[in-house]
């Protein structure tokens, strides 16, 4: 038990990888075994995360469950892990969504073994970003997660997968180039990558000192934008978002679930964990610029979504729209750091990350369910399907309402908090973003209407194309999502309590 307590984070982090390596030696033909093995292997980290959650002391400030192992001695970098109230929510989200995504992938029949292995590798990559307290390790996991995702899209995606996967890879790597250089610069300047040390030293540089032949302020500004662009590509913020609709649309269903559910959060998490603490001053100065990009994402994301005829693209653009609120909250928190407004906005942003993870994964799954049956995502080819698949229809409406922000479901809580926190400090931006919120309603209803209502497309009613109802396995995937969505919507305190303490301590 003692070992478990002291090594909890590294166990959660590396168990998926170990499981993937064991899978290497399982026979490729035994697809059933492989599927259940992968599911079981991804459930263990989830159970351990529940242990982590229950042992987490939300009243203590600072990082808990810290572990540190020397990794790259020459560069003074260690595998330093730890969680606070913000990262533990993200860890929970990741370990919660991965088993669901694997369960959703039981319908994959092509090369099950590498598929499941890539998913487990991906889980380690994502968890590593959320847990690391060392800048170099952060970067290592940040980049390494790209590889499994690239191959999941490239190998198991739909028609335009080559284009989409390469675009995803090059956009993200290109975005991270600035981050890489800035990380190197920090390493050269301070001789350490430990975040806790870096926060302190980087911020205590006197304003008049000269580094690299430039005033400190200039260097910080450049480094701020290098960080910000890397994370903005991942979030994604307008105008860096164009890789997202392609990648989401072409990815296999479970890939989209993870991509929208967790991968986008890595970008937002980067803002919270690195950008605001390392550049408080710059975050204040450039909050307006960040807010412009965020509002751009909210408004154009909503318009873009409304204009789609492809169901999956519609949901993909809705992610741009929803993630915009996260960054709006972050920008407001940066501007108003230290005030109650900042705390409300940041709480909202973190909760919105969690909520969007749930609802986006649910939405992509629902799109996947119908796509697997009809092999089309074109909204014009659906219509009036509600009587054919009443259970599916009901769940789809539930998910859509969560996405729309219906009070009583989770999205409402977090979006309200973001707007409440941002309005006093970023009035005009928040007001414009309401335009996006309006169109959120429009595109969500458009999606529901085109699929479920209107005149029934008889093609799906009879014969070999007859639409079948959602299966038990698929219900098992969505029910946990629905339960959490409802739980946060009705009683958000259980999760906000954990987030709030960390937010108040940091910002």
């Amino acid at each position: 038990m003692n070992f478990l307590n002291t090594h909890l984070l590294s166990l959660i982090l590396f168990l998926p990888t170990i499981a993937a390596l064991i899978m290497l030696f399982l026979p490729s033909a035994e697809t059933k075994l492989l599927r259940w093995f992968a599911l079981g292997a991804s459930l263990i980290p989830f159970v351990l995360t529940l242990v982590l959650w229950s042992n987490f002391d939300s009243n203590a400030t600072g990082f808990q469950f810290q572990e540190s192992y020397v990794w790259y001695e020459a560069l003074n970098s260690s595998l330093h892990l730890g969680v606070d109230g913000i990262s533990i929510t993200m860890v929970l989200l990741t370990t919660f969504l991965t088993p669901l995504a694997i369960l959703a992938s039981f319908s994959v029949t092509d090369r099950v073994k590498p598929y499941m292995m890539l998913f487990l590798f991906l889980e380690t990559g994502m968890l590593g970003v959320f847990m690391s307290l060392d800048l170099l390790i952060f970067f290592v996991f940040w980049e390494i997660g790209l590889v499994p995702m690239y191959f999941l899209i490239n190998q198991w995606g739909s028609a335009n997968k080559d284009y989409a996967s390469l675009k995803f890879m090059i956009y993200t790597m290109g975005g991270s180039l600035g981050l890489l250089l800035a990380v190197q610069m920090l390493g050269v300047l301070f001789g350490t990558y430990d975040l806790v040390v870096l926060y302190e030293r980087w911020n205590s540089l006197s304003a008049s000192s000269i580094i690299l032949g430039m005033p400190v302020h200039t260097v910080k500004t450049i480094a701020f934008w290098a960080f910000a662009v890397a994370f903005a590509v991942k979030v994604p913020l307008w105008p860096f978002h164009t890789w997202l609709p392609d990648a989401h649309t072409e990815a296999p269903t479970a890939g989209s679930m993870i991509l929208a559910g967790v991968l986008l959060k890595l970008g937002a998490y980067g803002f919270i964990r690195l950008v605001l603490p390392l550049y408080p001053l710059e975050a204040k100065i450039f909050a307006g610029a960040l807010a412009v990009l965020a509002v751009g994402a909210i408004v154009f994301g909503a318009f873009g979504s409304f204009g789609q005829t492809d169901f999956k693209r519609l949901v993909a653009y809705s992610s741009v729209n929803h993630m915009g609120f996260v960054v709006l909250g972050i920008a407001a928190a940066g501007l108003a750091a230290g005030t109650p407004e900042a705390h409300i906005a940041m709480n909202g942003a973190v909760l919105q990350m969690f909520n969007h993870g749930l609802s986006a994964a649910g939405m992509f799954f629902m799109v996947g369910v119908i796509y697997e049956r009809t092999h089309t995502r074109n909204l014009e080819e659906f219509g009036g399907l509600f009587p054919l698949v009443p259970v599916y229809g009901g769940i789809l409406i539930f998910m859509s309402m969560a996405s729309l922000g219906l009070p009583g479901l989770n999205g409402f809580v977090s979006e309200f908090m973001v707007v409440r926190g941002a309005y006093p400090v970023l009035k005009i931006y928040t007001a414009i973003s309401m335009l996006g919120l309006l169109f959120t309603g429009a595109y969500i209803l458009k999606g529901i209407a085109k699929v479920l209502h209107g005149p029934m497309n008889e093609h799906w009613a009879h014969g070999e194309h007859k639409l079948t109802e959602i299966s038990t396995r698929e219900i098992f995937v969505v029910v946990p999502l629905m339960a959490l969505i409802l739980a946060i919507g009705i009683w958000p305190a259980w999760i906000l309590e954990v987030i709030n303490k960390a937010v108040v301590a940091l910002f």
């Binding site: 001695e73 020459a74 080559d162 390469l166």
Partner: protein, 504 residues
């Protein structure tokens, strides 16, 4: 007297070459058996030596052996390794072993992979080459270093001209040999100048490099001779603008020779440039580092860009080697701790990676009879194991964290940050270009639909090929995940270099 491990490692290939040459030519399997056994023994010895150095926490020059060779001129056969050269000795052992494995091939009429034409002579020449390479890495005597250097270059000519790609082999062999001889002659002149100056300064006639480190060369002497010595050797390292022989040589060479060429021979150039140029003429190195650094910076970006536009897989890898070796020289030119550590690791990492690339490209070429990227496709279905190997190599090449390339490139860039941050920013563009061409190549060659022409003609690789691929891939991951298996060792070599550079 300790166990003379270094001379055994060095001379075993020569002995094996002679044994093979006296064996009957038609006993192909036996010849291959001798080759494989020799390579395996050499690899084990090199691995043992490496483990001794690493685990024994040794520093400085170790396993030193000295024999008189020509005392009248002060030439001794002096061997020894430090933290810089020990990984390279191991690298040579690995490339030699895997090179023999993949040259074994399959003599089925329909496949004809590996070396089926006169394997006896092929392996004999290959081992002469390997012995020469070992010799350079372990020599602590400048004369002996040259001696082995020339021995290593010469068999390349025959190996390429006889077993190479029919279309360009004569041209490429000639070009390669002329380039390298000119380079080494220039460096030799510099070495002789050092020898005589040392005699004038101290009255000692000696080629011993450890002694030469304290020969008291004047600053003016060092400024004048650094460039010829450094660039004379660096030609073999493929430094821009003298890189142009290298891709041609890679393309024309048979698979195992390409592996040696890119994997080890180019390291020879970089290592000798570091050992003789930087370590014996430190003042000169400081004076000219800006020039070396700019040339290397050009090589990094330009090499990546030229690799991007290639349609022949071997040319693509050849130019990517120019780019990656540019990173090695870039690391050396920073003359600081991080840059040199990165350069040391990059030499090993790139050696393994590029050997893997050439091995797999050779396997594809043997079966598809083409290396043109547009004419290939669907290889993943028929050669799944090789595909995974190539992907791992590709990830190393683009410097993906978790693999050895990152462990090497990251400190190099940090070193450059310390000297000239603008260059770090410019050179980083190469990472994106590399990612693009590697990914596009993997997608096209391995995962696009197979062209009809190739359908049914391509089979999987042999078991020996798989062993070679697995060995090389494994090493890249181990170093990537546990840098402690190599970095502390290289750091010790770097300490020595920094001491010579005056503790900066």
């Amino acid at each position: 007297m300790n166990f003379p491990i270094l001379s055994i490692i060095t001379f075993l290939p020569f002995v094996a070459a002679v044994i093979m040459l006296v064996m009957p030519a038609n006993r192909k399997t036996e010849v291959r058996g001798v080759a494989l056994a020799t390579a395996a023994i050499d690899l084990l010895l090199a691995g043992w030596m490496y483990a001794q150095y690493l685990l024994g926490d040794l520093t400085g020059y170790q396993f030193i052996e000295t024999y008189n060779w020509l005392p009248a001129l002060g030439i001794t056969l002096k061997f020894g390794v430090d933290g810089m050269s020990a990984p390279l000795v191991l690298l040579t052992g690995i490339v030699m072993f895997t090179g023999v494995l993949i040259s074994w091939g399959d003599d089925d009429k329909h496949v004809m992979s590996g070396i089926q034409d006169r394997p006896r002579e092929f392996f004999a020449f290959l081992f002469l080459l390997a012995g020469g390479v070992f010799g350079v890495f372990v020599s602590l005597d400048l004369f002996m270093l040259f001696f082995f250097y020339e021995i290593a270059v010469f068999p390349m000519y025959l190996l390429i001209a006889i077993w190479g790609w029919v279309k360009t082999r004569e041209y490429a062999a000639m070009k390669l040999t002329l380039y390298l001889f000119i380079g080494s002659v220039v460096a030799l002149v510099g070495a002789l100048a050092m020898y005589w100056t040392q005699y004038q300064n101290t009255g000692v006639l000696s080629f011993d490099m450890i002694q030469m480190e304290s020969a008291g060369f004047s600053a003016a002497f060092q400024y004048a001779w650094f460039l010829p010595v450094f660039f004379g050797f660096a030609v073999l390292g493929g430094i821009w603008p003298f890189h142009n022989w290298s891709p041609d040589g890679h393309v024309a060479a048979p698979t195992a020779v390409s592996m040696f060429h890119a994997g080890v021979l180019m390291k020879l150039g970089a290592f000798a440039a570091l050992r003789v140029g930087v370590m014996l003429l430190p003042e000169g190195a400081k004076q000219w580092s800006w020039l070396v650094m700019s040339f290397a910076g050009v090589a990094v970006v330009y090499g990546a860009y030229i690799a991007f536009v290639q349609t022949d897989m071997k040319y693509m890898i050849g130019f990517s080697s120019v780019s990656h070796m540019g990173l090695v020289v870039l690391g050396v030119s920073t003359l600081n701790h991080n840059g040199l550590v990165g350069a040391g690791v990059q030499m090993f990492s790139h050696g393994i990676m590029t050997a893997l690339f050439f091995a797999i490209t050779g396997m594809i070429y043997d079966r598809a009879h083409t290396r043109m990227i547009p004419e290939l496709g669907g290889i993943a279905k028929v050669m799944p194991f090789a595909t995974i190997g190539f992907i791992i190599g590709g990830l190393v090449s683009m410097g993906m964290p978790g693999f050895s390339g990152f462990i090497a490139e990251f400190p190099i860039f940090m070193g450059v940050w310390e000297e000239q941050w603008l260059l770090a920013v410019v050179a980083s563009i190469s990472i994106i270009i590399t990612a693009a061409y590697i990914m596009i190549n993997i997608r096209k060659v391995f995962f696009s639909p197979m062209p009809e022409k190739l359908e049914g003609h391509i089979g999987d690789v042999t078991v020996l090929d798989k062993v070679a691929i697995a060995t090389l891939s494994f090493l890249m991951i181990v170093i990537g995940v546990f840098p402690a298996v190599m970095v502390p060792m290289v750091e010790k070599g770097v300490e020595n270099i920094l001491r010579l550079l005056g503790g900066s």
